[in-house]
């Protein structure tokens, strides 16, 4: 009886030993993984900060203006002049064309009602 008890205790000890060992190293691995994630997050944040700074730099008027000036001949960009502004209401109406307004209006009304006379013509000719 005593023998079995001892044996089972011994076995339990061995099992516990292995268990503790495994858990200890698992914890270390997880801690390691956590740290590696933190480090990579910090690296990525650093990268993002650099990219953001790059983006901000590229968007600055002080960066864009010299570029425009350098390519002035090609781009032809200049400071907008007052006479380049105009109100929509100041635009002249489109000139009258010789298109048949009544016929066009009739066509659009027919199209709106779901009948396509032109498609019908094409179909008729292909049959």
């Amino acid at each position: 009886m005593m023998k079995w008890l001892n044996l089972s205790l011994l076995f339990a000890c061995a099992l516990a030993l292995v268990g503790v060992y495994v858990i200890k190293y698992q914890t270390l691995d997880i801690a390691n993984e956590k740290k590696s994630l933190l480090v990579s997050i910090e690296q990525k944040q650093g990268d993002i900060s650099l990219l953001e700074a790059d983006w901000a730099y590229l968007n600055q008027p002080s960066y864009i203006e010299p570029m425009v000036r350098r390519h002035q001949d090609y781009l032809g960009l200049d400071i907008i002049d007052q006479k380049q502004f105009i109100n929509i209401s100041d635009l002249p109406m489109r000139q009258k064309t010789d298109a048949d307004d009544a016929a066009l209006t009739a066509l659009f009304e027919v199209l709106d009602s779901g009948v396509d006379p032109i498609a019908a013509l094409i179909e008729a000719s292909s049959q």
Binding site: V39, E42, G46, S49, P61, S62, Y63, Q82, F85
Partner: protein, 578 residues
């Protein structure tokens, strides 16, 4: 049978015990062998595991970077970054673990040739555990040095302040030192608020600080700076500056003072300019000047608002005004009786003195006080100065002050006053923070009636159409731009010199519904060519015109050439007179 055996051989039992013991020992040895074999197999297996493990992914012993204090990003009113934190690697060494100092020195200098060889050798020798070698490297430099594989050399990430706009907003932003503490400008102001405390408590680690939205519009800021740089060259001036304010919210949209510096290299702020030390100050808030005739705008506003002077009045400007042995006369003398609008248009000193005298010098002085000229600037910059105006004016003191001499005010005070005069008569303290009109309305302080404000807008526009602002208006035609010039002679060896002048243009646009007030100054301008002059209309005025032409479309103001708009500005009492 056993009894017989026992009798024949009494020792057999002892032998059996021994044998049994021997068997037991044998069994134990086998178990021990088995146990040890297992143990060694385990150890061996573990060794193999260690051998196969990838140590480049092991961060056990690696210390996390001690991020240096970080600062909030600063954005302009449209969200464009004006100042950001970037994380850059810095190289440090552990001299106690460097094996070959000579090799390390040669290798480091192959990548960073600017490092002094002797200094570096001294730095890397010794038993110290930590020394900085080179701070704020680029990621590429870090990778190349890392690839050299020098033992005892490592990197640590640090926060560094970066100003993507370079010089554009130098005087607004100021700069920071290597430990990321603000040393001038808005950065220093931020520190004086709460950032310093946060950093101290360790809360400012990482990037969790909320971005700060400024009132500045970087497009306008850049345009104003570009035009002022152009003005510096065009008129061969020693300095120039400008400020633009939203008259209804008090937001400063642009603030430039030349010569300036590069905030990314803070030491440039202290460099002399053309041999002059301290030339790179912020002239808008930290400089006070005799702003000349632009102050007449203030005098007129006060006099018209007091009700003692009307637009329809006339004053005799035939002869100069005598104070003891001094006589004050006009620059463009008309030598006749001038109406009030004419006095403004011709910038008559005599007429302005008469107007101020009608108002009363004590009323004039208290009106200046009401405009906030005696108060410290509300602007969020550490570089501010107080105006210097005598507490009580003498007769002659009041007379000269009415046309801007004998008292010094900062351009920021002036732009705030002009803003209040044209926006319907409400003074609003200028700010560098983004602010809504509703918010600003709670800060409004009435200075003149809206009726007087209408009259002042008419006068400012009149001066642009017929007076000294003509040249500015020709450039900014259509934007209903108007303002008052000021040309102050500088004091050289204790006397006013007509050679060296200080020119100012205080303006607002569009005057039919004022949105922005602007003050531009050009210090010691020379003639652009033979046909031009050195008075403010030629330099500060024309520069203002060019700036308005450039920024008005950005600010959503479209030109309008409808003549009825200018006609609508004429006050009813003057209708039919001109």
């Amino acid at each position: 049978m056993s009894e017989a055996m026992q009798k024949n051989n009494p020792n057999i039992e002892i032998e059996g015990v021994r044998k049994a013991r021997g068997n037991l020992t044998k069994g134990r040895i086998i178990i021990a062998i088995f146990g040890f074999a297992l143990l060694f197999a385990l150890l061996g297996g573990r060794l193999v595991m260690f051998g196969l493990a990838d140590y480049s992914k092991n961060y056990q012993g690696q210390e996390r970077d001690l991020a240096t204090a970080s600062r909030p990003a600063i954005l302009d009113r449209n969200g464009l970054e004006m100042a950001v934190d970037i994380r850059v690697p810095s190289m440090f060494a552990d001299p106690s673990s460097i094996i070959d100092v000579e090799e390390a020195v040669v290798k480091i200098r192959s990548e960073l040739p600017n490092i002094d060889e002797k200094w570096l050798r001294k730095r890397l020798t010794g038993d110290k555990g930590f020394v900085w070698v080179a701070r704020e490297l680029t990621p590429n430099q870090q990778r190349r040095i890392f690839d050299l594989g020098i033992p005892g050399i490592d990197f640590r990430m640090e926060s560094k302040r970066f100003y993507p706009g370079g010089e554009d907003a130098a005087h607004i932003l100021g700069s920071v030192n290597r430990d990321n503490q603000g040393i001038s400008g808005f950065e220093k102001y931020l520190d004086s608020q709460d950032v310093a405390l946060l950093q101290e408590l360790g809360f400012a680690r990482g990037r969790e600080l909320e971005a700060v939205n400024m009132s500045i519009d970087m497009r306008v800021q850049h345009a104003m700076r570009a035009e002022l740089v152009d003005a510096m060259q065009r008129y061969d001036a020693i300095a120039s500056a400008g400020v633009l304010m939203d008259v209804s919210s008090g937001e400063i949209l642009a603030l430039v003072s030349l010569p300036d510096f590069n905030p990314n290299q803070p030491h440039t702020a202290l460099e002399p300019y053309n041999g002059v030390k301290g030339a790179r100050i912020n002239r808008i808030t930290a400089g006070k000047f005799e702003l000349g005739s632009t102050v007449k705008t203030i005098t007129f506003a006060g006099a018209l608002d007091s009700g003692l002077v009307k637009l329809t009045d006339s004053f005799d400007a035939t002869n100069g005004v005598r104070f003891g042995r001094f006589t004050i006369s006009d620059y463009h003398g008309k030598k006749r009786v001038l109406s009030v609008p004419e006095i403004f248009k011709y910038s008559s000193n005599i007429g302005t003195i008469r107007i101020m005298q009608t108002m009363g010098k004590d009323n004039f002085r208290s009106f200046l006080n009401g405009l906030g000229f005696d108060d410290a600037l509300s602007v969020e910059l550490p570089e501010i100065t107080m105006s210097s105006i005598k507490e009580k004016f003498s007769e002659v003191g009041a007379a000269t002050a009415s046309f801007g001499h004998g008292m010094s005010i900062t351009p920021m005070h002036l732009v705030a006053a002009i803003g209040g005069i044209v926006n319907g008569g409400n003074f609003v303290p200028p700010t560098l923070y983004k602010r809504s009109v509703e918010e600003a309305k709670t800060l409004y302080r009435p200075i003149i009636s809206s009726d007087t404000s209408d009259k002042m807008r008419y006068l400012l526009r009149l001066n642009a159409l017929e007076g000294s602002g003509r040249k500015a208006n020709e450039i900014a035609n259509g934007y209903h731009f108007g303002g008052k010039t000021g040309t102050a002679e500088k004091v050289v060896d204790g006397r006013y010199s007509s050679e060296k002048t200080f020119t100012v243009f205080a303006s607002a646009f569009p005057l039919n519904s004022p949105k922005y007030a602007m003050v531009i100054l050009v210090d010691e301008p020379k003639k652009e060519n033979e046909r031009t002059g050195t008075t403010a209309g030629w330099n500060a005025g024309m520069t203002s015109g060019r700036i308005v032409k450039r920024i008005a479309p950005m600010l959503g103001i479209s030109p309008d050439f409808d003549a009825s708009i200018d006609a609508g500005l004429v006050p009813k009492e003057l209708l039919g007179r001109f």
